[in-house]
């Protein structure tokens, strides 16, 4: 059976799940953890590390360790978010050939989708190892506020990783799916998702027959765990400066250690009332003496430092409910998602806001991947058990004269959907119009994301406003936007499918797919061989151990001696297969060894 895996490609951590025999399950990685850091690194010897392995060496190899690539994906080089990241990232960002962002690692520069693809490949490998078969299809989640470019780039990343991304769904929606799965709930619920870098809030309605409808979704792209960490860093740095007159910010290594310590402290304060930050030899003073940082942070102090951040999430929730025309008391359950929701002051604030304790039934780190897997299974399995009515998170429109954006499909419209609106020419004798497809909530066109553009020409020469053009926007169930403009007089039309704007050309993606494939094949063969080798060596050892006892039993018989001889042959061939590094051969020999071992055990047991 063909599995569709669900991947929560997080800013900080990623998680993979699958529905097996109707049961959604999160798949642990080789280290036994259910989430994998969304980090990759390139070692000095140009070895690629992903996940825990990358994280473990991140302090010593900061320059070549990439984290939070999700903040970069699908963004233009000169966009505000990239400028923000440039300020703090330890790895090197450069501008790519399409105003996109590239990351310099040791051997070459990588496009952001390539980096994300490395994480996705890892998740794919985890699933394949668990399922014992290849996986080709995936549902990947993205934050609800992701625009089309970011979604497209995420899809590209999947493609580079060798996955057919059958659907991109919103993280909070996925969380709600997992929450409601198999429980026949008839409820209106809010999903509060605070992760490492982002905040998302969604309201959904679910019915007992398996329909999930997103009512409203909103969030803040730049509000997450890192901001809480930064508050702690500031507090430590300021305190240190007051004490020693030294600014730790100037030292990259020190800052990296502070970041680590701050996050650790934050996490500890989720279960303890106070925590000690202890960083010996953090820096040397002007007089060349080693300075140590040691301070105790109480939970109360921490809460004070971050109260306004918590309040920001509350304000966004308030606004979202208002916009959707839903009262707080109409929310029948609240689902908490993301590592940050373990912070007591956050849980408290949410409980207070809704006047009810959040749901305890779901695991904040796993629920998104589970939901993605559930949606994947629901799509490919016949039987129509569940339908997700998702919305478009951003307004879509066209740029009109005066540089304003004219909305066609408002935010939170259920998809698939289509809207048509009539526009006119703006100048006398204008024979062509340029349709600029925009996405975003700003009135000024330029403040929004440009998704694509095309020209409709051959218009009749006439006075301004005398030629009419119908513009139709369509979003299909896959979330693909297409736009068509039509000259009503001549019937001429032009259209685009907004798809290829992830900052990579099709050719580039193709070559990255090839490289990714090569990489995957390489590694897989290696891994498989290694696993088999271990197994075979274990078996050889066991069989050899039994030679003595078996000989005792059957050594007096010709047949017995023959059998022993044959067993020796099996062992020899297995050893040869190991030295030849031939996986297929190794598999055969492993089977032969198992059979031999079984026979030997049988012989000995019967005596």
């Amino acid at each position: 059976m063909e599995y569709v895996i669900g991947i929560d490609l997080g800013t900080t951590n990623s998680c993979v799940a699958v529905v097996q025999n109707g049961v959604p399950t999160v798949l642990p990685n080789r280290q036994g953890y259910k989430t994998t850091p969304s980090m990759i690194a390139m070692t000095e010897t140009k070895k690629r590390l992903v996940g825990h392995l990358a994280k473990r060496q991140s302090i010593t190899n900061a320059e070549y360790t990439v984290y939070a690539a999700k903040r970069l994906i699908g963004r233009k080089w000169n966009s505000e978010p990239i400028k923000q990241v440039l300020k703090s990232a330890a790895y090197k960002l450069v501008e790519g050939p399409h105003q996109d962002v590239r990351i310099e690692l040791r051997d070459r520069s990588y496009a952001v989708p390539e980096i994300s693809a490395m994480v996705l490949s890892e998740m794919k490998a985890i699933a394949e190892e668990y399922l014992g078969q290849e996986v080709h299809k995936a549902v990947i989640t993205v934050p609800a506020y992701f625009n089309d470019n970011q979604r497209q780039a995420t899809k590209d990343a999947g493609m580079i990783a060798g996955l057919e991304v059958i659907r991109i769904i919103n993280e909070p929606t996925a969380a709600a799916l997992a929450y409601g799965f198999g429980r026949r709930l008839d409820k209106q619920v809010a999903v509060y998702d605070l992760g490492g870098g982002t905040f998302d809030i969604s309201v959904l309605e679910m019915s007992s027959d398996g329909v999930f409808k997103v009512i409203s979704t909103a969030g803040d792209t730049f509000l997450g765990g890192e901001d809480w960490d930064t508050r702690i860093i500031d507090w430590l740095v300021d305190g240190f400066k007051a004490e020693h007159g030294v600014d730790l910010r100037a030292d990259r290594m020190a800052l990296q250690r502070l970041k680590d310590a701050a996050e650790k402290a934050k996490i500890e304060l989720s279960s303890q009332r106070e925590t000690e930050v202890n960083l010996p030899f953090i820096i040397t003073s002007g007089r060349n003496e080693a300075l140590h940082l040691q301070r105790v942070l109480t939970r109360a102090e921490f809460e004070q430092l971050t109260a306004d951040l918590v309040q920001r999430t509350v304000d966004i929730m308030d606004q979202t409910l208002d916009d959707a025309g839903i009262g707080r008391d109409e929310i029948e359950d609240v689902v908490l998602v993301g590592g940050m929701t373990r912070v007591p002051s956050i849980e408290r604030a949410v409980a207070q806001f809704f006047g009810r304790e959040p749901s305890k039934g779901v695991h904040p780190d796993e629920v998104v991947a589970l939901g993605a897997a559930i949606q994947g299974a629901a799509l490919v399995e016949q039987g129509n058990k569940m339908i997700l009515l998702d919305v478009t998170p951003h307004t879509l429109g066209v740029m009109v004269a005066g540089g304003m954006m004219e909305p066609l499909i408002p935010q939170n419209t259920t998809v698939p959907t289509a809207r048509t609106r009539t526009f006119t020419t703006s100048r006398d004798n204008q024979t062509a119009v340029k349709i600029l497809v925009m996405q975003g909530e700003h009135e000024r066109g330029a403040d929004n994301e440009l998704l694509g553009e095309f020209i409709l020409d051959g218009l009749r020469r006439a006075g301004a406003g005398a030629v009419e053009i119908d513009v139709t926007f369509e979003i299909n169930a896959d979330g693909i936007v297409s736009v068509r403009a039509k000259d009503l007089e001549t019937g001429r039309d032009q259209s685009i499918t907004v798809a290829a704007t992830s900052g990579l050309t099709k050719d580039e993606i193709r070559s990255m797919v090839e490289e990714g494939k090569r990489f995957a094949v390489d590694r897989k063969a290696g891994e498989e061989f290694e696993a088999k080798r271990q197994e075979v060596e274990g078996l050889i050892h066991e069989v050899e151990k039994m030679f003595g006892p078996v000989e005792k039993v059957v050594g007096s018989s010709d047949f017995g001696r023959d059998a022993l001889e044959r067993a020796r042959g099996v062992i020899d061939r297995a050893r040869q297969a190991v030295s030849k590094k031939d996986v297929t051969l190794l598999k055969e020999q492993s089977d032969a060894l198992s059979r031999t071992l079984r026979v030997f055990k049988g012989v000995v047991a019967r005596t």
Binding site: Q31, S207, I387, A418, T420, T424, A477
Partner: protein
Amino acid sequence: MADAGHNAADLTATERADIDGMSMLLEGGTLYELLKVPDDADRRSVRDAYFRLSKQFHPDAFYGRNLGPYRERLDTIFRALTSAYDVLSNKTQRAEYDRSIGLDPSRPLVATAPVAESAPTTAPSAPLRTQSGTQPAVVVPPAVAPSARDASTQSRAIVPPQPAQRAATDPPARPAGATEPTKPLQPLQPPPAARPMQSVAPPSATSVSRPAMPAPTEEQQRAAREALARKLAGNRSLSQSAMPAVQPPVSAGASLQSQFANRTDIAQRQKVDALRASVRELVAKGDFVGASNTMQILRALVPDDKSIEQEALEVQRQLLLQLAPKNTEAAREAERTRHYANAAALWSKVAAVKPEDFEPNFRLGRCLLADGKELARAAEYARKAISIAPRRVDAYVLLAEIFEAAGKPASAKAAAEQAAKLDPTALAVKDLLARLR
């Protein structure tokens, strides 16, 4: 509708009929008829109706299938359903719409049972306008749907930029029939009120919700069921032997025979036979719950019959096997919600019939550890898990943790070292060793 397309589409006749029928409903009818609710349905009933129809007509319900010309039709249907729902679920918009079709917006609304899909739609219907021209059929509900009105009435100048003043923002929702601002494009005027029109036949075929997917173990279960049925059938001579006026048994069942010989109660024998027959029947049908219950009665009737006891055990085993997927699911849920004792009980049911499976044994061990009451048993299952999958690091880690919890650091360390042998890089192992040191 395009006949040529019928062959191209990968749809059953029923599905086609549903989609065609629904498409026809779009052409004429009120929004209430479209959603198949009475016009005094309350918001919740409207929602339920919309959800029910979405489940049937959302394009995802046909994911991965070649729909040919039906693809577009389906999209159109779903959009129409959604815009109908958007109007009827919004107080103001619904009031406007009601007025436009001559309903009193202040009438009381009631919760309704869903209208049976096979029942003919009531009330005469007004045609729903579709946009003219060669546009794809974007369905415009009569009157209010704001998108539709926008589409028809607003004109905007498109770049190249010119200091042309931007038209005033969209007018607020207006009742149908209100005059539209004059625009170059002739506006789509909604019909002023519902016009009687012959009612449209509802989709001919009733949609039947499909049964849940059979568990993948179905095949095995059927095989097991048949095997057991054969086994029980093979015993027939035994039970027949108990019947009066039948020849003495030719084979086996000596104990049973003597037992029955001691009992003179023929009625009871007949009852036992009847029960055994019904067990066979139930097993053949795959109803192990029923079979197991019947076995209970049988065992109470003939308490010391070894062969019945054997059969009962087998039936019980089959029952657990059949329930294994459900128990697995329930066990996982219990684990998720941290009801470990409960989860352990469920896993042990699964493990009993799946002694070769890693998961139930492993998880049982883990739940017993988490529950903390039966550590010895936990260790037993951790060991079982290890013997099933001797190369799984997590099983050794579990065993080590159990020993650790039981206050046996030396054993814990030994197990942890086993784990380290298998995978020295695993973080969980490192943590464990560090802790034990």
